[in-house]
């Protein structure tokens, strides 16, 4: 049984022992609560796929919008299937330090319950846990899709997602949440600032470097030519959906709801998650006003996400005030990191690297600030190990794809837009009202 699973058990045990008998939560009741928490929070996390789809749809140009929609729904589907076929067991089953086993996942909770004489020892339905872990995988893949948008070919991208969700993400995940070596070192990453968001960010960064910038983004003279997103309310909708989904992402990572202590933990996580996002927004709004004399909506949206990623490694321990601060730093990171990446000519279409990678690192480092169990040293080791592994693994996959089938559409195709080229349709095809055949 993995670290990621042990937590609720521990919490429950502590609480139960302290509680007077008459007030106990019965084991079956706890079983229901725990299971339902996975389902409820997992459903919220699933909805984040829609959030990413909308955020990215709004921030690309309309000639690439349908493609980004397709990528987002397909990657979510692939992530689930691959996590079932390979990923889950690689991440959680009999992890021997660095890797689990290579088998499709299977569980029959009803049979298990019957076998054990219905003693509810398991604490929750294994399937509900699988469901909750599964929805996390897609998040890592969604991050990549935003960064490499508008120039990557569809199928190579989907192949990368397949490898990311079945191999890369689960292996590094096993180190911590699978109970592997990082857990043994004491690395703490509550809901995945590093394990989910930075992983997506590293894969995205590697992809962006290997793929190169969009045509026209950087002038030969070093100038930067912004390419505004086509649909800002859609991007805003996406950010709000992500915010909502994050309650499930972090809240569900309490991994239990079977005791008052669990419920208290989940409440703290919900509140802190919200406040970090709020801090991220306000910081980005004020900072863009101060630095650029105009408030940048796209930065405010990224600020919300930066705040959310920042709190994700440790949403359980801060006070509300600390959560606001942690999130605000995330918002500031975003505002400075976006132009910084442009200086390096790394073309990140939706700002996913600042928000998910940089804020993920910050969030992981911030854990010791409010959690005495964490140490900077261990956090740094975890960040570096995960980063190194994901960079190398991603680089290998991206490079193989590049030299074999190619990862980038041709210059002309890029100008025409991937929607026309790969999908044969347009996101907003109309021209001349009523003349649909145009």
């Amino acid at each position: 049984m993995s670290k990621r699973f042990l937590i609720p058990g521990v919490v429950a045990a502590l609480t139960l022992s302290a509680a007077p008998a008459f007030a106990e939560v019965s084991e079956e009741t706890a079983f229901i609560f725990n299971t339902f928490s996975f389902l409820f929070n997992g459903a919220l996390v699933m909805f984040m796929a829609a959030g990413f789809a909308m955020l990215e749809s709004g921030l690309v140009r309309s000639k690439n919008t349908a493609t980004i929609c397709l990528k987002n729904i397909t990657l979510y589907a692939i992530a689930g299937i691959m996590f079932y076929a390979v990923g889950y067991n690689l991440m959680y089953m009999d992890v021997a330090g660095y890797i689990g086993t290579m088998l499709p996942w299977a569980a029959d909770d009803a049979a298990a319950l019957a076998e054990t004489g219905a003693n509810f020892e398991a604490g929750y339905s294994a399937t509900s846990d699988w469901f909750f872990q599964m929805v996390f995988v897609a998040t890592a893949a969604s991050i990549v899709s935003g960064t490499v948008a508008e120039r990557i070919k569809l199928w190579p991208f989907l192949i990368f997602v397949t490898v990311l969700t079945s191999i890369i993400y689960p292996i590094q995940g096993s180190w911590t949440w699978g109970g592997g070596w990082l857990t043994e070192m004491g690395f703490l990453d509550f809901a995945g600032s590093s394990i989910v968001h930075s992983v997506g960010g590293w894969a995205a960064l590697t992809g962006a470097v290997i793929l190169g910038a969009r045509r026209g983004k950087y002038g030969k003279d070093g100038s930067v030519h912004p390419i505004p997103g086509a649909n800002m309310p859609l991007a805003t909708m996406g950010a709000f959906i992500l915010w909502l989904g994050w309650f499930g992402f972090n809240g569900g990572s309490v991994l239990a709801l079977g005791s008052a202590a669990d419920a208290i933990a989940m409440a703290n996580v919900f509140a802190n998650t919200n406040m970090a996002a709020a801090g991220g927004v306000v910081a980005a709004v004020i900072l863009t006003q101060l630095v650029y004399k105009k408030v940048d909506l796209s930065m405010a949206l990224n600020g919300a996400i930066g705040g959310l990623v920042s709190i994700t490694a440790g949403p359980d321990t801060p006070t509300l005030g600390s959560a606001i601060m942690i999130g605000a730093v995330g918002g500031m990171i975003v505002v400075f990191a976006v132009p910084f990446l442009d200086k390096l000519k790394i073309d990140d279409v939706v700002g996913a690297i600042p928000a998910h990678l940089f804020c993920g690192i910050w969030g992981t480092l911030a854990v010791p600030l409010t959690n005495a169990d964490a140490s900077f040293g261990t956090q740094l080791i975890g960040i570096a190990a995960i980063g190194a592994f994901v960079i190398i693994a991603s680089a290998i996959v991206w490079t193989i794809l590049k030299v074999t089938i190619g990862i980038r559409v041709s210059e002309e195709e890029e100008m025409l837009g991937t929607d026309k080229v790969e999908l044969g349709l347009e996101a907003y095809p109309e021209f001349g009202r009523g003349a649909h055949s145009l």
């Binding site: 021209f431 001349g432 009202r433 009523g434 003349a435 055949s437 145009l438």
Partner: protein, 124 residues
């Protein structure tokens, strides 16, 4: 004097602009293609004419919509084709109902095909 040589050339070409109902576009394109005219440019426009807009109500307040959606077609043709082209357009675009649109013809002085550098008649 005012009719310089440059100007003479362009009398051989005409530039047709037609405002039509949007859903007639396909038929007009086909009619022109049937004449061997294989180039045109289309713009989404709004028109105002005898066919008035409607009085609409939005949130309890009346208002006039003056402009109706139309499509503008621009076709450059050789002067000797202009009559047939205008006929083809007007034939295909006609529904007999108000708002069918109009065809405007102006002299075209010069044409250049960017890709090849061909000019005038050759560029059409």
């Amino acid at each position: 004097m005012h009719c310089d040589t440059d100007n003479i050339g362009n009398k051989t070409m005409k530039f047709i602009m037609a405002i039509i109902k949007p859903f007639k576009l396909d038929e007009v394109r086909e009619a022109l293609t049937a004449l061997g005219i294989e180039g045109m440019t289309v713009t989404e426009v709004k028109g105002y004419g005898r066919q008035k807009g409607q009085t609409e109500i939005y949130r309890g307040a009346e208002y006039e919509i003056h402009f109706l959606p139309k499509v503008k077609i621009e076709v450059a043709v050789a002067a000797d084709q202009v009559e047939r082209a205008v006929e083809a357009i007007s034939g295909a675009a006609s529904s007999g109902k108000i708002g069918d649109g109009k065809v405007f013809v102006v002299d075209l002085e010069k044409v250049l095909r960017i890709r090849t550098g061909e000019t005038d008649a050759e560029a059409l």
